[in-house]
Symmetry: C2
Subunit: 355 residues, 2 copies
C-alpha cells in the first residue's frame, strides 16, 4: 500500500494531513462517458461487462484517464452476491437489475447458498488484478459490496420498487426470517470483501442504499449491526485487518453517531445531510465522504463551482474530508461539467490545507 | 372552536394537558376501507370524488364511524391547486396523478393563474361545510394543502418520478425560475387555506412530501422559507390568526430545529426520525405528530401493539404528542389492524397522562 504514489485518500482515511481535498465520484465509471458506452456495447449485456475482467478493468480506469481523480473504484454491481448465492440476476435496459424469483418465504432463504460465495465471484478478483496492473500504483483502488439490508431489499422485492412494502412489512411481521437472510449475507459479504482485498483492493466500501427506509431501531437491528459484524469479521482477518473501510447509508443522516461507532474509517454522506453538522456530530476521529447533490452537475460552470465551494467551506479546515457526490453520477451529466467540478475541488480546497 | 366535544388534538396543539394521546391517521379516508371503494365507484373518477362535496364529505367521515379517531381530515388531493392554476390534473388507476403538460420554462409559469385560486376550489369549501355538519362538533376537522416545493415538484416533473431529476436540476441551474413559481404558489396556497378555515376547518396542515429531496440550504430556500411565508400570511389574517398549523416534511428529520422556528404549532415526523430524539431537539414548546412506519400495520396484533408502544414510550411523559403514522396508510392494510392500533394507543398512553 505504501508504494502508491497518490496517497491522498488513504491519508485522509488514516488521519494523515493532505495538501488538498481528494476526490472520487460514485459511479465514476458509467454511462455518462461515451468511452464507457463503447466498451459496454462491445461487452454485450451489463452483466457480461461485469463478468469480463479485462473489459471491467478497462471501464474502471476510463474516468482516471480523463479526470484528476484520487481513486478508482472497481466496476461491478452490488447484486453480484445474490446472483452468486443462487438468485439469477437479470438486467434489461431501461428497467434496471431484477430477480425473476424474489424471496417469498423461509424455504427460499434456506435454499440460498452461503458457502464459498467468493469462489463464484472470482471474476471480480480478476478484474481487480487487471485494474491494479493498469493503475500501476498511481492511485488506490476501492473494492465494494452492498450492505446486508440493501441486498435483502433487492432479494425480497425483486428490484428497486416504489415503496418497498414487501420487505418493510417483513421487518415487522417476520423478523426471524429476515435475520436468517441477514446472517447468510454477512457471511457471503465478508468472504467477498476479503477476496477483493486479497486481489489488491486498497479500500473497501459498503453501500447501504436502502437503510434510509427503516426507523431507527430497525436500522440498527437490520442494517447497522450486520454491517458492524462484517467490519468486525474483516478486522479479525490478517488480509483486511488494517484496510480502510467506508460505510455509506443513503438517508442515514440522523444516525451518524451510531454509524461512527461501527468501526469504519469514513462515513459516506448523501446530499441531504449538512456536512458541517455531520462533522460537528462525529468529530475528527473519523473521515467524511461526500456530499454534493448529483443534480448540481446539471448546473452552469458557476453554479457547479459555487455548490462545491459550499461543501468545502462547510467542512472547513481539516484533513478528514474526501470530496464526492452524495449519490452516483447520472447518465445525463456532461463529462465536461464533471471535469470542472474535480478541478475546482482541487484548486479551491488548498486554502483549507495550509500550514 | 370551543364548542367541539373531543378537543384532545386541539389541546395538544395549544399546549393544554390531555387524558390520553390523541390519534388520527394520514390518508385515513382511503382505499383500505371497503366503504371508501364503494363511494369512489359511485363517484366515478378520483377527481370526481374530490369535486363532489357531498361524496367527499361522506368518505371523510367513514373512518370516524369505524374508529375512535380524534380528528377528521377533509378528503381531497394536494394537486387541486395546480389544477386550479391551469395545469390540467389527470388521474389513472395504477398510475397516480399526473399533468400532461408539466412546466418546462418560465413562460409556462407566467401563464399560470395565481388570482382567486380559492374561487376555483369552492368545491373543497363546500365539502368542508358538509363535513362539519356531519361531524356535529364531535371532533375537529383538519384542512390541508401541499407545500410550495412539493407542488412545484409535481408541476415540473408531471408526476412522482423516480429521481425527480428535472426539478432537482432546476434548483441549481435556474433558481430564479423556481422562485417565480414558488411565489405564485405561496399566494395561491395562502388563499386556499384561508378559504378552508373560513369554511370550518379547525386545524391546517401543510404536506411537504418532497422536501427530503433537497440539501439543507435548498430545503431552507425552496421549501421551508416559502412555508414560513404562508404561515406568516395566515397569522396576519383574522380568520386564520389563531388556527393551529401542522407542518410535515417527509425526510425532514435533520431540519427539526429550523422547522420548529417556522411558526407552526406541530411538526409531523416521518417514521425514520426517532421521536425521543425529535423531542430532545425541539423541546416542549411545539407538538410532535407521528410517527409509526405504515408498514407496521401489516404485522401481527402483537407486533402492531409493540411498535406503537415504542413510539409512545419514546415520547414519554408529556402532552404534546399526536399519534399518527409516519406517512399515509396504504391500500393493503386490513382495517381491523388499524382498529387494533388506535385502541391500543388510547389505552397504552393513559399512563403518560396521569395527574
Amino acid at each position: 500500500m505504501s508504494s502508491i504514489k497518490n496517497k491522498r485518500i488513504l491519508d485522509v482515511l488514516n488521519g494523515v494531513p493532505v495538501d488538498k481535498t481528494p476526490v472520487w465520484i460514485m459511479r465514476q465509471a458509467g454511462r455518462y462517458l461515451p468511452e464507457y458506452k463503447a466498451t459496454r456495447a462491445q461487452a454485450g449485456s451489463f452483466l457480461d461487462l461485469c463478468q469480463s475482467p479485462e473489459l471491467a478493468s478497462e471501464v474502471t480506469i476510463q474516468p482516471i484517464k480523463r479526470f484528476d481523480l484520487d481513486a478508482a473504484i472497481i466496476f461491478s454491481d452490488i447484486l453480484t452476491i445474490p446472483d452468486a448465492m443462487g438468485l439469477e440476476l437479470k438486467f434489461e435496459d431501461n428497467r434496471g437489475p431484477y430477480f425473476d424469483n424474489p424471496i417469498d418465504d423461509i424455504d427460499d432463504i434456506k435454499s440460498l447458498s452461503d458457502k464459498n460465495t467468493d469462489s463464484k465471484l472470482e471474476y471480480v478478483a480478476e478484474a481487480i488484478i487487471h485494474t491494479k496492473e493498469k493503475l500501476n500504483n498511481e492511485i488506490p483502488l476501492i473494492g465494494f459490496s452492498g450492505s446486508p439490508w440493501t441486498l435483502s431489499t433487492y432479494m425480497v422485492e425483486g428490484s428497486a420498487t416504489k415503496e418497498f412494502r414487501k420487505i418493510r412489512s417483513i421487518v415487522f411481521k417476520e423478523p426471524e426470517m429476515l435475520d436468517l437472510l441477514t446472517q447468510k449475507l454477512v457471511k457471503s459479504i465478508t468472504e467477498y470483501l476479503i477476496m477483493q482485498a486479497k486481489a489488491g483492493a486498497d479500500i473497501l466500501m459498503i453501500f447501504d442504499s436502502w437503510g434510509g427506509l427503516l426507523n431507527t431501531q430497525n436500522y440498527v437491528n437490520f442494517s447497522l449491526n450486520p454491517m458492524k459484524e462484517i467490519i468486525s469479521n474483516l478486522r479479525k482477518n490478517s488480509i483486511t485487518r488494517n484496510i480502510p473501510i467506508v460505510l455509506f447509508t443513503k438517508g442515514g443522516g440522523s444516525w451518524l453517531n451510531q454509524i461512527a461507532e461501527s468501526g469504519c474509517n469514513a462515513i459516506g454522506l448523501d446530499w441531504t445531510t449538512d456536512i458541517s453538522m455531520a462533522r460537528n456530530t462525529v468529530g475528527d476521529n473519523i473521515a467524511l465522504q461526500g456530499n454534493l447533490d448529483p443534480c448540481a452537475l446539471h448546473g452552469t460552470e458557476e453554479s457547479i463551482k459555487d455548490a462545491a465551494s459550499k461543501i468545502i467551506d462547510g467542512y472547513g479546515f481539516g484533513h478528514r474530508h474526501i470530496f464526492n457526490l452524495g449519490h452516483g453520477i447520472d447518465q445525463y451529466v456532461d463529462p465536461e461539467n464533471l471535469g470542472i467540478l474535480i478541478d475546482h475541488v482541487k484548486e479551491y480546497s488548498k486554502k483549507y490545507h495550509q500550514n
